[in-house]
């Protein structure tokens, strides 16, 4: 029974990590751009949702898509104005630029929203537990699993079945040939980047209840996002997805069964997996 509860919590946690980190998997893996400021977009979404729900009185489910839109819009603007110039620069430049962006976002949020934890007021029907076949299941976590599961399926469909998906894959595999075929590569990248930021924003809004939301969010969770992407490999959506689940379940189970070692489990798993498969679980085996 306990095992099932742990599994359930782990899956919910993993799903959340996936929605937060999959945008990073796209920018890092597909566009080959190191965006350490990814968490800042998640934070923006979280605060957008908090302001809408707590101050404007919008229902939580109406605020979630808006959080997505807000983060995506910020992402699009920054991509066009700042990020675009760094695609061809070295990784060190990209890291320095984005880490600077993180610090700016932290200070800006601290200034505007204060340093205290922000909570999103949830409707009553999302609080507490329900009983599923004798298993106590947190309603909020159940909702996370449902939403994130649907999102994952949708993402996979978009990437593999739609025209945009094939354009994106083409643009990534060989940008020169793709633009020769009439694909507007910068536009595809911009859309993808904005979409990834939007997902992060939604993840931030969903995660505020479980992970907490304060101006230090981008720094606190940067390491988790990077673990998901490195362990999962960055060549597809499936890799980070399975990695998120694995890490989520591993983290929760580790903290439950060996609380003294709790925090180390996730890092140990990362080290073992990376020694076993240096390019991540589903990474490309040969360097490009």
């Amino acid at each position: 029974m306990t095992l099932l509860t742990i599994l359930f919590d782990g899956v919910a946690y993993g799903m959340l990590l996936f929605v937060l980190a999959c945008g990073l998997a796209v920018t890092l893996g597909l566009m080959n751009f190191v965006n350490l400021a990814h968490g800042a977009f998640a934070m923006a979404g979280g605060y957008a949702c908090a302001i809408l729900v707590n101050r404007a009185g919008l229902p939580f489910f109406a605020a979630l898509p808006i959080a997505f839109v807000v983060s995506a819009a910020i992402g699009a603007v920054l991509e066009r104005s700042l990020y675009r110039h760094l695609y061809t620069r070295s990784h060190l430049d990209q890291v320095l630029f984005t880490i600077g962006l993180v610090f700016m976002s932290v200070t800006a949020m601290d200034y505007f929203m204060g340093s205290a934890q922000t909570f999103i007021h949830l409707p009553d029907y999302l609080q507490g537990q329900i009983n599923l076949f004798g298993l106590g299941v947190g309603r909020y976590r159940l909702m996370i699993i449902v939403i994130c599961g649907l999102l994952t399926i949708a993402l996979q469909m978009i990437l593999s079945k739609t025209r945009f998906g094939s354009r994106l894959r083409a643009a990534v595999d060989d940008p020169r040939a793709a633009s020769g075929l009439g694909i507007n590569v910068p536009q595809v990248f911009a859309l993808t980047f904005a979409f990834g930021c939007g997902l992060a924003g939604m993840g931030g809004a969903l995660g505020a209840e479980i992970l907490g939301l304060d101006p230090y969010f981008p720094l606190k969770f940067m390491i988790y996002f990077l673990i998901v992407v490195t362990v999962g490999g960055s060549s597809s959506i499936t890799g980070p997805f399975l990695a998120s689940l694995l890490l989520g379940i591993g983290d929760v189970a580790g903290k439950y069964y060996v609380p003294k070692l709790g925090a180390f489990v996730i890092y140990t798993m990362m080290i073992v997996i990376l020694i076993w498969r240096p390019n991540g679980l589903f990474g490309r085996t040969a360097a490009r």
């Binding site: 742990i6 507490g128 537990q129 106590g136 304060d214 969770f221 903290k255 709790g262």
Partner: protein, 389 residues
Amino acid sequence: MLRNFISATVAAVGVLSIGGLAQAQETVKIGLIVPMTGGQASTGQQINNAIKLYQQKNGDTVAGKKVEIILKDDAALPDNTKRLAQELIVNEKVNIIAGFGVTPAALAAAPLATQAKVPEIVMAAGTSIITERSPYIVRTSFTLAQSSTIIGDWAAKNGIKKVATLTSDYAPGNDALQFFKEHFTAGGGEIVEEVKVPLANPDFAPFLQRMKDSKPDAVFVFVPAGQGGNFMKQYAERGLDKSGIKVIGPGDVMDDDLLNNMGDAALGAVTAHLYSAAHPSAMNKEFVAAYKKAYNTRPGFMAVGGWDGIHLVYEALKKTGGKADGDSLIAAMKGMKWESPRGPISIDPETRDIVQNIYIRKVEKVDGELYNIEFATFEAVKDPGKTKK
């Protein structure tokens, strides 16, 4: 003639230099070092707010001296604290240094206080050892041991037999755990589960499940103030509240600053602490009203630490008749007693630490807002971290 001239000159110079000295002593400078940015910023803001409020209410002159506050932000980093304290003492020639949001910050400034004979008023940091590090340190906040031992005693006497503990794995968390455990087990209680969670902990779910499975009467919790809300939410989400497991702990977790945003999940939590914004005294009502009017938020225990800190300086200056050197001020502060918004308090003449009432409170809803409602009082509690020795 010449002799007259010389003596006149000497007299004039003498008068001048005395005049100069007197002028320098017209103001008493207090270097206030608190975190105004970073994760501990709310501590600094509350202290600074309270001091400003005090000076608005009582004026900035006492015993013929103008009290000037020089605010410095150390972002709770001890290196900064030490550098700022040194600058304030050497360049600004402050008479007193005050504030100190976290224990390492207070400790970093201690050697400077000793060397320069400048009183160090600790208005926030709560580890027992602080006041032992310099004979010039006086504390107006609290020690963690004060609240943790009291909640241990109270729990053992009030039908709580089995307790599971969940504390953050850092010095104050370990302090709280140790003092609680000592007093609770001495009172006949049993610790059935002991979990230390990492300080940067994203998700309490697995730890809370462990708490739930150990079936205690209550969970003793100490996490940094910012995480209290998350803890309470997940505690309710997991249904621990419905399975009759109480939440007890030192009152930091239920800080007035955050309490109202935690939501109804926090209802019923029992904590021991020095101050609640709902403390039913005329003085506190006036303090809370004035604070709310000025800053549009209710004061927490950090604000009270700042308020009492500046009050202590004012009273000490009155007692010394305006003499602002370290030794006279410390001598005046020792044993001083006064009525604070939190209740009657005094400075222990031996340890220079605060002696205060510790209240047992329960979170209840009053006029649609969450408050810690006090229902039992342990009077004049000294710091158990020191009396033990």
